[in-house]
Structures are given as C-alpha cells and as structure tokens.
Subunit: 365 residues, 4 copies
C-alpha cells in the first residue's frame, strides 16, 4: 500500500534509499505563480546537512538539490514539481555487515517481516536520508506560507536531561548554537552531555518545539482532520519520534479547568485569548494565536556499545555497530519538523477555502 | 472540505449534532461475513453512557443503536453499514444562553470564524455525542480484529495528579472502578480528587493508556502512513486530547540509546525482543510485541466557576456555565480511545495485505 | 474496500439496500451557508419516482426524504448532511425465488463471487434504489451550483432505435414527455416502441445527454483528474451505463483535425470558440463553453421472456423473471445523470480554487 | 489541487514537461518481490517511440528509462519506484511562436485561464510526452499482472473511416502493422487514408480496443469504484480521448434485453456465460469473462492547414502550425491505453483482497 504520499490537495511523495542512485520528492498540487529557485530550496537542505551541526554524523554529504519539472520562468506552473539529490557518498562496503543481523531500535526486523527482504545498505528507505525529500517539499511549502504571512520556526527544547529555560528564549542564538537551542547556557550543557554520550559509546534523545505564527483562525477540519490531529500524524511519521503534544500537552492532563481554559477578552476591538494553554487550537481548528507543538525524539539507535541481537541464521549474537553515527539526531531533525509542519499546514490552508459558500461565491465572482 | 471521514479501505464517516435529530455513522469497506448484531454494538455504546461511570454528566442519555443497512442474515454483506442513535433528551432551552458568547476552552469561537455561524445547541458537532458514531464503528472494527486474534484494551492511567501504580495493574478491577482504573487504591484517590474538583466548581484531566495484543509484525506503511503516525492522528482527533506517546514516549527523549533500544534474542525458536521500550513499533511497522500508547486529555472546559469571555456584541463579560457537565471526561473517553485504535488498526491491517507479491499470488491462486 | 464514497472535498457516501430498513446518503464537505430544506431535495426525489414516468416500474414507491443533520436555521452548517428515505414497500416474498439462481445481466453472480453471499432481496445494493442517495446528494450539489450560476440539465436522447432530432430541441417539452425527450415526435415514437417491447416481454436501452451551462473556464485537474475523466467515472458508475462520450465523442474518431478543432475568435472583446466539437473541455479543463456529454444505457436486464440460467445447485435451468420491472430505465435515470454530474462538478470547482497563488492570497487577505 | 496522482493502493504520480529537464513517474505501493529491470520497462517505452510506428511524429526521440529507487537485487522492495527519462531533443526555438497564441484543439487557452500562464514549450505538461510516465508505470503493473496470470492487449480498431473486420482478428499481425491493426487489409487502407490526410495538411482520429484476459471474477468495488467506472476515468484521462465504452457499449443502447443479456450455463462443471455483451463486467464487478473496452481518439489537433485563432494581444489571427506532428496519434496511444488499464486493474485487484473476512483470516493465519 502506498505510504510515501502525504496530503490531499498539496500532495507530497518522497522516494529513494540511503544508498540508491538518488533520493527525491514530487509535489503535486502546488499553485502556479510561486517564485522558486534551487537556491531557495538549497538553504533548507543545508540546514539538515551534517556540516551544519557539530555532533552529527561525520559522513560527508553533499546534498545538492535539482529541480526537474514544474518551474517555468522562475515560477511554479501548477504542475508537479520533481526534485532530487544524487547520492554521492555511498560506500556500500561500510554497511555490508548489517545485512546479516537485526540492529536493535532499527527497522531491519520489521522490514524483513513485512516485505520478505530489505535494502540493507545504509538503512535503505528508513535511513535519515529519506527526510531530504521532506525538507525539499517543506521548503516549497514555506515559500507558499510566506506569501500568506505565516512563519514556522522550530528549535531544540531539550537534549537528554538538558532543557532550555522556560522564560526568555533567545531565538537569535539558535543559528549559533551547535545543537539549535535558543539558550546559550543550555546549549553549552547539552554539548557537554553529548560529549559524554560519545565517550560512553552511547547516544541521546531530545525534544523539538515548533511555533507557527500568523496562522489565521479557521484552519483544520472537524472531526477527523483536525489541525492538531494532522500535525500529530505528520510529526509522528518522522523516524525516532515517540511522542507529540500541543500547547500544554501532557501537563494539561494534570491541571484543572480554570487553569487550562484560555479566557477571551477584547483588545483593540479584536477578540483575543488572555493565555494560550491550548497552543492555538480549539476543537481542532486554529484560533488565531500562535500554534505550538513539541515532538519527543528517542536516542539514536545506532550505538557503538555492545548489544545483543540475532542474525539471519537464527543465532543469538553480540554486535558492535561501527561506522559514522550521530550521537543525537535532534538538531538535524529541527528542519524536518519545520518541513512537516509547513507541508501539513499548507494542505489544511487549501482545504479550509471551501468552508463557507459566501467566500466561494466571492472567489468565483 | 470533508473532515468527518477516517480511513481509506475501512472507511468511517460520522455525522450528527448533539441536539439534532440523530447522530450516526456509515462504515464503508467492511468485509462480508462478519457476524454482527445490534446487541454486540450496544455493549460498546453502553460503556460510553454516563450511567456507566459516576462523576460523569448527569444528563440521562438513552443511546440505543439501530443498524439500517449492510447486514443480512446476521452477517455483514460487504456493503456500507449505516447505524444511528436517535437523540431523545435534547432540551434546547438549557443551552440557549451559550448562543450569545464564546465559552473558553470550547470550539464556539473557531466554528464561528470558520463557518460564519454555528449550531450552538449543546455544542453542536463538537459535542461529546459526536463520539457515538466512533464507538459504533469501533465496535464493528473490534469484531473484525477479534476474528484475527487481536484485542484492544484501554484504561485510565491518571486523573489529575493521581496515577496508577507502575507495577501490578489489576486489569480485572477496571470494570469495578468508577474511573476505569486498573488499581483500587489509585481509583479511590482519584474519586476523592474529583469530588474536590466538583466542590470547587472545577474540572480535571487525565491520561488514558491503551494496549493492543496479538497484532502481527508488519502492520504500518512507511513513510507517512506509519502505524504510530496513524494512531497519533486518530487519537489526537478525539476532542480534548492534547498529547500522545508510543511506548516510552516523552521519557525516551531523556534516556540513552543503550537503555532505550530493545535487544533481540531467540526464545523457543522465535525472534523476540528482551524489552519493549518502543511500544511495539519499529520504523513505523508493528514488531509483534504489544502495541502501547497513551493519550493526554485536558480538563473538561465547561466549569461552573466564573470565567471571562466576550459576547457576540463584542462586549467583555463574566460567565458561569450552568447545566450538567462531567468534572472529568477521561473515564468515558476510554472506550472512544479503544474505538479509534480499532478503526485505525483495521484499516492498516487491510493495507498491509499488499506488501509482498508472493502473498498476493497465494491469495489469488 | 470502500467503494460507496465519491469525491474528495465534496464527499458523498451512499448506503442502503433495496429491501433493507432505509436507503440514504451522507455528504461531508458541504460548505456552510447554503439554504436547504427537505422540500428542495424532495423535488429531485420525485423526478426519479416511478409515478413521474409512465413505462417505469409499477411498484408504488413513496420516497420521502428526511434530513437528519448538518442543517441549522435553514442553512447548511459545514457539518455532514445525513439524509435518508425509509423503505416502505418491501414485500420480500416477491423476490424469494431469485435467491436461488443468477439472473442474466444482473450482479447476482458477481456479488456471490466477490462477497461469498448476497442480500438478494430486490437486488440488494445493486438495485436502482441505491440511486436515491445519489439524487439527494445531487440536489444539494445543484443548490451549490445554482449559487455560482451553473445549471445542469439532462434529457433522453434516444430509446432503442428512436432518437431525437439533431436540430431544434424543445427543452420545454421534456417535462411533458413521458420519456423525458425534448422532441414531441420522437417521444411518441419512443412510447410506441416501448409498448411493443413490453408486449414482447422484452426491454429497451437508450442514451441520456447532459448539458452544463455557466461552468467557468479552468475547472478540471490535469493529468489524471481531468473534468472529462471524472465525469466519465461518475457516469459509468451508474448501473446499466455501458458507454460515455464528451462533445462529438465517438464521431470525433472519424472526423479530421480541421473539422474537429474549434477555432478561436474575439467576440465583444472576449475570446470565444466558433464551434464546440470538444464539448466544453480542452486538455481536461473546462473552456467556458457548454459542457456536453452522453451516457449509453443498456436495456433493463429483468425481462419476462424465458432465459437460460444456472441455480446454486449448479444446475442449468430456464427462468422467467416475474414481478414489476421497468421496460426501460432511461427516463428515470435522467435525474441520476444530472445528480452525478452536479456532485462531480462541485468537487472539481472546489479543487480548482488552489490553482493560482495570487487567488489564494486574495482569498486569505 | 493534486491531479497527477492515480490510484489508492498502487499509486502512480507522473511529472515533467515536454521540454523540461526530464519526464518521470513515482510508483508508490508496488509490492515487494517483483522482478524488474530497466530492460523490461524499456520494451514498453520503445512501443510508444515514434520510430516504432510510421506516420507518427518525425521528431527523433531517444527515450531511455532510468530506475532511481525501489529496486534491490533485481526485485522491488515495496518502496517507491522512481523512474525518469531525460529530455534530449528539445530545441525550444521550434515552438517559440506558439507562446503568443492559442492553438485550436489544444490546452493552451485552458491552462492560461486556470494557472495564469503556461509552460508553452512543446505543449508543456499537456504534451504527449507526459504519457512516458504512464507507460513506465504501466510496464510495472504488467509485470505484476503477469504473475497473476492476467494479460492486457490493445490494438487499433479504426482510423478515420477505416475499421478492422468484425470477425477474424489476426493478433499476430499487430506487430507488423504500421498502425497496430490486427487486420492486414484494413491496415493497408488506413495507411492510404493517413497518406491523404498528410497531403491535405490534415489529421485523423481512431478507436483503440483493449482486451484483458485472465481477470478473476470479483474485481471492482460497488458503488462508485466499479471496474468499468475506474477504467472509464483512466482511459478518458488520456489526452485526445473523447469517448469510451465497455462490451457492446453504445450499441447496447439500441438492442433489447433478450439480445443484450448474457445467459448463464454450466460447462465442464463451471458457471459460464454463453455470450459476452457485457464486456466482462456485471454490476461493476468482473464476471470472469474477457474484459473488453474501447476508447475513441479525436484527430491530432496540430494540423498544418490554416486555422483561425486569437493571440495574447487579443487580436484575431490566422495560424499555420509548423513543426513535426503525428497525422494520427492512435497507433502510439495503443501502449498508453494498455498502461492505463494495467495500472487501474492492479489497484482494483489489491482493493478486492478485503471483500471477505474468511479470506482475510486465511491471509493472516
């Protein structure tokens, strides 16, 4: 069954394996008239490159995006946009050993169960390189959202036990932080923690937070296609994400109604909420406040420490995973979270255009 | 845009408002040959009835399910199954006041923003009564899963600050616990906490945990239609859910790789995992272990305490919500969580049947 | 697999069997603010009633539409619209015999092959009564199209060998013609032909033509979701339709390019086509001219004449189908063709709203 | 809105413009374990090459298919299959003139109306080169169908007024016929007709017939996703198709019930039909007979003869289309018809696997 397609109106299909010829994406349903160039997309690609973040994989990746269709005279034509990155650095020899056993925490075993065999080279389709297509599509979505005054910004909230301070995020610092944290002190502590992880042949997880500003009220379709429900699916579909929450999230389950409710008031003639525990969504529909969510990432499953496993011959073995692996994937995942949010919100913005016959009449006048 | 449809192969469409003529559901894509009767569905309906759980709304609901199509000689025919519950107890007068203002924590404001006006009677479509269709469809899904040896069981994990003990769940106790907890001591404490909430005109949230047993390995479609991603969407689409997590969930973000990875071993000739931090899913595909997830519910937004709001005339007002409201929705939501899990897993089980050409050849032999 | 759902944005799900409790439809994705009443829908229901057309089934049907949800204060709310007609006249005894054998030209055999058994009462789901849901949904679509200045009108073009004159359609006469033909002379001849068919225990087929006026240019999505492709699917999904064509259709295959091309010209400052061989569509997108298509219906398969068949015991038998059957279904199918066109065009009109970023920016301004 | 995606389970997305960098396709939902190589796909590509058929465009195309993902060790992995053909021969200068006006019979005008502008080079996305992706995907579908004992064969039934004989098709002759006709006499006459068309600066249309053998009974989903309805959509989505029919098609509308019904009988212990007027489908579900349909193609709209048109300045002009154009597209379209049939049937075969709970239980045993 087709599982590599996301969205209904703005429809994104990713393809490609870690060590295949290329990885890529096709966007179908992008409106005509959006200014797009390879340079604009490349900026986002560079943010997920290992070079951009210390403590990420040492593998040298040179991810150059190519646009193959859907652009004419510098603008989208409304036709499918096909983009790809050629895989340059795939020394399959590095990975030959993993063909024979199932790595704990990886999808090796489940792929074999489902498909009968798997492309084991570098993790195949379940490699982090699969996110290249997501990020390229996310970049296009960002360019659309920009036109509508909407911004999507994610950053690292915590790595292992090290969390940013609750008050006073320094958003300008994110680009300087090797771990994408908006908090210098926490960033330094996180780096130290990661150093220790690496020394101990271990790895760390963390939490990414994302804030969407400028989203108009009215986005999200009750009952099953709520804004928060669609974002939950999009974010949980990123490899290694084990939890997600909107606004106060799990904390809301311990608070009481009078604390958790956001009261309404009039400010400068407009209806406003006096707080934002809901994270910008009520009944699955955006309420005009900032839309805020968090995603919890598990630690990188590839660790150099010794682990128990089984091989294809059905024998119990001890393994030590070699090769270049990120001690944490959270910093590189920040742009992937943004991409999934942008893709999902673009699709929902388009869906929300048919909620009211009066607006449709205006449109077709 | 259509938002009341869930699933692709096993497709569920719910309809109806709290105080309309009826609420109901159509299931399209149910296989032929499943034994189903109104009595079998009614059992699930009764579990979401207020009578089943103390501390739930005092409103007397008499939710009698009627099957209108898709069943012949006691079995499903493969044709759409239409079911409905007639709304009996809708004294619209009780709710007339809420037409004029926006209740904090409710969808009143966002519905008006999106649709231009709203059916304000009893919350209209965003009322808890909308879940009647989900539960009826979930009951049908349960009957299918039963045939395949799969069970879905949810229970209350916490209410406000009161959580069940980590070890030694007493699953037999759940049906005796007024709050659906598998832990007598916690259940008593939770009741006391809810009594205090009610006295203080306040409300509580909580966490529901769900365990799926018997799910074969191989269910879930990479990349975007992963098992966990689809469950996340399904569960987040339940009103009041603000967070969800799989396996160790948010806790995984603070652990390290060697702790979080589930090592493989051979047991009785089969490959097994020595732990289940992953919650039964690897790379978005079920791994044959128990599939475990949790959903965080916010406190009931309808509280009797005084709150600030605005009315349609654009004036700031103080409101006190009257009427019969649950101090907590978690116990009644347990069966809804089960229903959404069953619906989602049934759809994914059907999708997983085309992953391997050899199995397809066997099927069509 | 779900097959009773049509459309993506304006999504229609029909349900119900000929001799079940009721037949009905749920429309999800109808915009808010459309004025709708049961009376408005009933008008369309009455057009497919046997009473409306002579030579149709003598079975007395009293198809009273009930709206159960999605309407508040006389207008759609944007929520699912659930409608049903209770089946009153189902004397199952009439049909008991057909349970034992496969009627030629009917779906009895294929339903058994697919589902293992079937609801044989009155044809079950493959009965003409299934179209009740289509017509009710089509009526809602018509009310939406009306707001946008679009009309959909179908009529009988031919019955058996009797065809209307190519020039000078008398559209006012359609409502007076017992066979829905816009041509008095042809109508009389068609009646005579049908009389003969009935005497000979036989049945007739025919062609329905449909003209959509006011459709703006730009509707239809290349490549696979073209206007003509979607209409083709919608129309071929009506029971008994064996062919469909757009504009000149099959005739175009015999003409040459210079004849078939519609030349462009300027008229009153606007671009116009000097002919309409294309039937209002170019490259799958509406061109602003009348959109015209035809559907070919096979003869009613239920005939009183003796036919060869096989029974469930695997014996070859002769059968004579008893009961009340239309000698032709074409006149009653006219409103069903209109309904399917209206449903399909409404969905495509909504889809066409996101083709151009500049229009989206205007919408969200 | 996304319109370049076909299918739900076996999902095909095509992309690319005539004179862009490349044209291609992504197949998502192909089962694992299917043997596939570029050579196998190339065979189908070659059948749509102009070199394969005289009287087709003289433009030299060198369409070499490249597989970029989804194949490992010579077999599909269940992951998306990305394929492309680099556009080599795109001398844009040839087409610069058409940027300024709207060619009759082409999509120039409707693209401008819908998207605000268009990629005019070589027809952009509405060029015949778009079908490269369809044919590549169709080749993969064919390899799947082959495993299940199903074959799909199309051929030219008529060109302009020249039709093959009704009895005695010589299927072996098709590959020798420059116009893909299974009838030598008709083929020679068709060639002569086309010669005359070319001399007169004109073009011709025709009819393609397709026969699917080995399709098991039970394929197709009532009500809206019938086998014939889905094939109708797939075939009408091919550029230049103006009509389609199943079995006796339009002829059925003029026959009577006793002629048109296919009687059942027992032969060698099996239920068989004594004729096949239905074309292999009853109630939208395959009945185990040959599935037969026809598609009517309009004449190539690009003709060298003088035509009236309008330019972008709003002036009425006379045009004479230059360049290399097929006097008929039917012979090259034969493989495209096969491809669309194969893609559609594969998707429906997969959908039909969940019609019966007993078969699902067997599958998961």
């Amino acid at each position: 069954m087709a599982g590599s397609v996301s969205g209904d109106i703005f429809r994104v299909t990713t393809w490609g394996e870690s060590h295949g010829t290329a990885v890529g994406v096709v966007i179908d349903g992008c409106p005509a008239g959006v200014k797009i160039s390879e340079e604009m997309i490349q900026k986002y690609m560079d943010r997920r490159k290992p070079g951009a973040v210390k403590y990420s994989t040492m593998r040298k990746e040179d991810d150059e995006i190519k646009i193959l269709s859907g652009i004419f005279e510098g603008k989208t034509t409304g036709m499918p946009i096909s983009m790809l990155v050629v895989n340059k650095d795939h020394r399959s020899a590095d990975y030959s050993e993993i063909a024979s056993y199932y790595r704990p925490g990886h999808a090796d075993y489940t792929f074999d169960m489902k498909y009968g065999f798997r492309d084991y080279r570098g993790g195949g389709r379940s490699s982090g390189r699969e996110t290249i297509g997501r990020v390229a599509a996310g970049a296009v979505a960002m360019l659309i959202l920009e036109q509508l005054g909407i911004t999507v910004n994610a950053y690292t909230k915590s790595i292992g036990p090290v969390s940013i301070s609750d008050d006073g995020k320094d958003m300008d610092y994110v680009k300087d932080s090797p771990v994408y944290m908006p908090d210098k002190e926490a960033s330094v502590k996180a780096e130290e923690y990661l150093k220790r992880c690496a020394q101990e042949k271990n790895s760390a997880g963390g939490v990414v937070e994302c804030v969407v500003k400028g989203l108009p009220a009215g986005i999200g379709e009750p009952v099953f296609d709520k804004l928060d429900a669609n974002i939950a699916k999009a974010v949980m579909s990123i490899g290694a994400v084990k939890g997600m929450e909107i606004g106060d999230g799990f904390r809301a389950s311990q608070s009481c109604g009078t604390e958790n409710n956001d009261e309404f008031a009039i400010k400068d003639g407009n209806i406003v909420k006096l707080s934002n525990h809901s994270g910008g969504v009520l009944g699955g529909i955006s309420d005009g406040s900032d839309f805020i969510f968090r995603a919890a990432f598990k630690p990188t499953p590839s660790v150099a420490a010794k682990q128990k496993s089984v091989n294809k011959a059905g024998e119990q073995i001890d393994i030590e995973i070699k090769g270049r692996h990120d001690p944490v994937i959270v910093p590189r995942a920040v742009v992937v979270v943004e991409a999934m949010a942008a893709i999902t919100i673009t699709d929902l913005l388009f869906k929300a255009m048919t909620s009211d016959i009066n607006k449709i009449k205006d449109f077709y006048k």
